[in-house]
C-alpha cells in the first residue's frame, strides 16, 4: 500500500445538463519520501486534483487514501501552498504565518512559535516586509508568504500548486533549493504542480503529465534518474537530463496537438458579401 493513493477518481462539476467531468479515471500512487511532479496545460484540472488530495473537495467517484485512510477532511499532515496565495488580507505577513503556527503547535511556548514564524519569514526573504499587509505586497511576495505559511506548519506531505509561478528566476531557484532541503532533511513527501518542465526535472523523482481536459487523465510517468543532490549548473549538460526533457516536451506537444485538432469545430459562415460603395 502506497503512502498516498488515488484510485479510479472521477470529478464532475455541476449537475444535470451543466455537468462537466473535469477528471476521469485518475490513478496515482505516491510512496513515502517521494517527490512527484505533475505537469499539465492550464485549465486541465490540476488545482482540482490538488484539492481532492488535500481534502477540500470530494471525488464524484473513486477514493483518495492517505496512509491507508480515506481522505474526508483537511489535515495538518498535508500542507498546501495555494496557487492563488489565499492570504488573509487583514493580517500582516507575521500574523498570517503566526495563525498557522499557532494552530499546528498549540502546546509550544510563545517564544518557540515566535522564533519559528520569524525563521520562515527570513527563509523567504520577507523580513523587511514583516509588518505589511498582503495588499501592500507584490504578487511574488504574496506567493512567498504562502510558501512560508505552508512550510512553517511542518506538514508530512507538502502539496504545492504552481508555487513558484510569479517569481523571478533567481528567487525561484533559491526557493526550489529551500523546498528541496526541507523535503530531504525531514524526510517529507512532496507533490508539485508545475508548468515548467525544467523545474520538474530538477526537483522531482517522477514527472506525470495531466492530459488536457475535459475528462483529463494522467499520462505515462517519466522517471528522473539523476542522482541527488542535483547541480543546476551541470544539469544542462547531463545527457540523462537532456533525454528526459526532450521526451516530456515531445509528449506534451503531442497531446497539445491532439487537443487543437480534436477541439477544432467547424464554423459555418453566413453567405455575405462585402458591400461596395462607389
Amino acid at each position: 500500500m502506497a503512502y498516498l493513493e488515488l484510485n479510479n477518481i472521477y470529478k464532475t462539476y455541476g449537475k444535470g445538463t451543466n455537468a462537466t467531468e473535469v477528471l476521469s479515471n485518475i490513478n496515482l500512487h505516491i510512496e513515502e519520501g517521494e517527490f512527484v511532479a505533475i505537469v499539465g496545460f492550464s485549465g486541465s484540472g490540476k488545482t482540482t486534483l490538488v484539492n481532492l488530495i488535500n481534502g477540500l473537495l470530494k471525488p464524484t467517484s473513486g477514493e483518495v487514501l492517505f496512509k491507508g485512510q480515506p481522505v474526508i477532511d483537511t489535515s495538518h499532515e498535508r500542507g498546501v501552498i495555494f496557487q492563488n496565495y489565499s492570504l488573509l488580507p487583514w493580517l500582516t505577513v507575521y500574523q498570517n504565518i503566526s495563525v498557522a503556527v499557532k494552530e499546528t503547535f498549540p502546546k509550544e511556548s510563545k517564544q518557540f512559535r515566535d522564533t519559528r514564524v520569524k525563521k520562515y519569514i527570513e527563509m523567504v526573504n520577507l523580513t523587511p516586509a514583516i509588518h505589511k499587509r498582503p495588499g501592500e505586497l507584490s504578487g511574488g511576495m504574496r506567493q512567498r508568504v504562502s510558501i512560508a505559511r505552508a512550510l512553517a506548519m511542518d506538514p508530512e506531505m507538502i502539496i504545492m500548486d504552481e508555487p513558484l509561478g510569479a517569481l523571478d528566476a533567481l528567487t525561484r531557484g533559491n526557493l526550489q533549493d529551500e523546498i528541496l532541503s526541507i523535503w530531504d532533511e525531514n524526510k517529507r513527501t512532496a507533490l508539485l504542480i508545475t508548468n515548467d518542465v525544467d523545474e520538474g526535472i530538477y526537483m522531482a523523482d517522477r514527472i506525470i503529465p495531466l492530459r488536457p481536459g475535459p475528462n483529463a487523465t494522467l499520462g505515462p510517468e517519466f522517471k528522473i534518474n539523476i542522482d541527488r543532490p542535483r547541480d543546476k549548473t551541470l544539469l544542462n549538460d547531463d545527457p540523462e537530463f537532456k533525454k528526459t526533457r526532450n521526451d516530456i516536451i515531445e509528449y506534451l506537444m503531442e497531446i497539445g496537438q491532439e487537443r487543437t485538432t480534436t477541439s477544432a469545430t467547424e464554423y459555418i459562415l453566413p453567405e455575405l458579401e462585402p458591400r461596395h460603395f462607389d
Partner: protein, 363 residues
C-alpha cells in the same frame, strides 16, 4: 510633519483643507490656488447663492402674504380697515405680522435668541442646584427622593436629549442586528426560514414601529413610575434603523471569499475561531457600511418619532414651536432644521472615518 497633517485631514474627511496646508508650505502655488478655488471658494459661492435665493424667495412670500391680508381686511371692513392693516404690517407689530417662510436674517436672530435662552436656563439650573444642595444632602441621608430641576429645557438640552436617544437606539440596533446577522449569515437554514420576516418588516414605516413599541412598552412598564417616553422612542429608533445593518451583516458573513474559507479549513480552525478570526474580519467592511446607513436612518426617523411620542428632544421642539405659533416660531423651526442636518452630516462623517479605519483593502 505636515504630510502627516495632510493624511489626518484627509482621513477625517476634511480633504478640502489640503491645498491650504500645501500653499502655506509654499508648494506649487499656482496648482494649489486653483485647488482652493475649486474646493473652498466655489462651495462658499454656492452657499451665498443659496442665501440669496432664500432671501428673495422669503421676501416674495412675505409680500404675497401681506397683500392677502390687506385684501382680506378690505373685503371685511372696507378701505379703512385695509389702510389700518397696511399700517399695522408696516409697523412690524406682532399681531398682524404676515406669517410665512422666515428670511435668513430672522433665522439668525432666532438662533442667537435660542443661545441666549440656553445661557439663562443654564444659569437658572446652576442657581437651583446650589440652592437645593443642602436640602438634597439631607434628603439623601434620610433616604428620601431628591429634588430635581423641572424647568423648561433649553434648545441645547433638547439636542443633547436627541443625541442620547439616537445613540441608545443605535446601540440597540447593533446589539440586535449584528449577532442575528452573523447567525443568519452562517446558517442557510436559519436564513431561509427567517427571510420572510426580514422582507416584511424592513419596509414598515417608523410611525408603525412607534405604535407597536408603544403597545408593548405601555403594558410592560405599567407598574414602574419611570418615564417610558425615552424608552419608547429609543426602542423605536433602534427597530426602524437596524435593518440595513442586519441585511449587510448577513450578506457579509454569507459571501466570504471561498479562498479565505479554504484557508480556514486547511488551518483547521475551530468553529468559534473561524467566526472570529476569518469570517468577521472579512465581513467587517460590509457590516460597517450597514452601520453607517443605520446611524443616518436612526437620526432621520428620530425626529419624527420624538414628535409623535411626545418625548423630549429636537422633534418635540419642532412640534411645540409649530403649535405655539409665536412670531418667531417659524424661524426657530428652520434653525432646528439646520441643526438636524448638520448633526446628521457630522454623524455620517464620524462613521465614515471609523469605516475607513477598519477596512483592510484600502490602497
Amino acid at each position: 510633519m505636515s504630510d502627516r497633517l495632510i493624511t489626518i485631514v484627509r482621513f477625517i474627511g476634511l480633504g478640502f483643507l489640503e491645498p491650504v496646508i500645501r500653499l502655506a508650505r509654499g508648494e506649487e502655488a499656482k496648482k494649489n490656488l486653483t485647488e482652493i478655488l475649486k474646493k473652498i471658494v466655489a462651495p462658499i459661492a454656492s452657499i451665498l447663492i443659496f442665501l440669496f435665493i432664500w432671501q428673495t424667495g422669503s421676501t416674495a412670500l412675505y409680500n404675497k402674504e401681506a397683500a392677502h391680508r390687506i385684501e382680506k381686511a378690505f373685503n371685511e371692513q372696507g378701505q379703512e380697515g385695509a389702510d389700518a392693516m397696511a399700517l399695522c404690517i408696516e409697523s412690524g407689530n406682532v399681531s398682524c405680522r404676515p406669517n410665512t417662510l422666515p428670511s435668513p436674517t430672522q433665522v439668525k436672530a432666532s438662533f442667537l435668541s435660542l443661545l441666549k435662552d440656553h445661557k439663562i436656563i443654564k444659569a437658572d439650573k446652576k442657581a437651583f442646584k446650589e440652592k437645593t444642595a443642602e436640602i438634597n444632602k439631607k434628603r439623601a441621608e434620610a433616604g428620601e427622593t431628591l429634588i430635581v430641576y423641572t424647568g423648561r429645557p433649553s434648545f441645547v438640552d433638547q439636542i443633547t436629549t436627541s443625541l442620547k436617544t439616537v445613540f441608545a437606539g443605535f446601540l440597540l440596533a447593533i446589539f440586535i442586528a449584528v449577532p442575528i446577522g452573523i447567525a443568519l449569515g452562517l446558517s442557510e437554514t436559519l436564513k431561509s426560514s427567517l427571510n420572510w420576516l426580514i422582507q416584511i418588516f424592513k419596509p414598515v414605516s417608523p410611525v408603525v414601529w412607534l405604535l407597536l413599541v408603544f403597545m408593548i412598552v405601555k403594558t410592560l412598564n405599567k407598574n414602574s413610575d419611570t418615564d417610558s417616553s425615552f424608552l419608547i422612542s429609543f426602542i423605536s429608533v433602534g427597530l426602524c434603523s437596524m435593518w440595513a445593518t442586519l441585511v449587510n451583516t448577513i450578506m457579509g458573513v454569507s459571501t466570504v471569499d471561498k479562498d479565505i474559507l479554504n484557508v480556514a479549513k486547511v488551518l483547521k480552525l475551530g468553529p468559534l475561531q473561524k467566526v472570529f478570526k476569518v469570517i468577521l474580519p472579512s465581513s467587517l467592511p460590509l457590516i460597517f457600511t450597514g452601520l453607517r446607513i443605520t446611524l443616518s436612518v436612526a437620526w432621520m426617523v428620530l425626529i419624527a418619532i420624538e414628535l409623535l411620542a411626545q418625548s423630549p428632544g429636537l422633534g418635540s421642539f419642532v412640534w411645540e414651536e409649530f403649535q405655539n405659533g409665536a412670531n418667531d416660531s417659524n424661524s426657530k423651526i428652520i434653525v432646528a432644521m439646520f441643526v438636524i442636518g448638520i448633526i446628521g452630516f457630522l454623524l455620517d462623517r464620524i462613521m465614515l472615518t471609523i469605516q475607513n479605519f477598519v477596512s483592510f483593502n484600502k490602497n
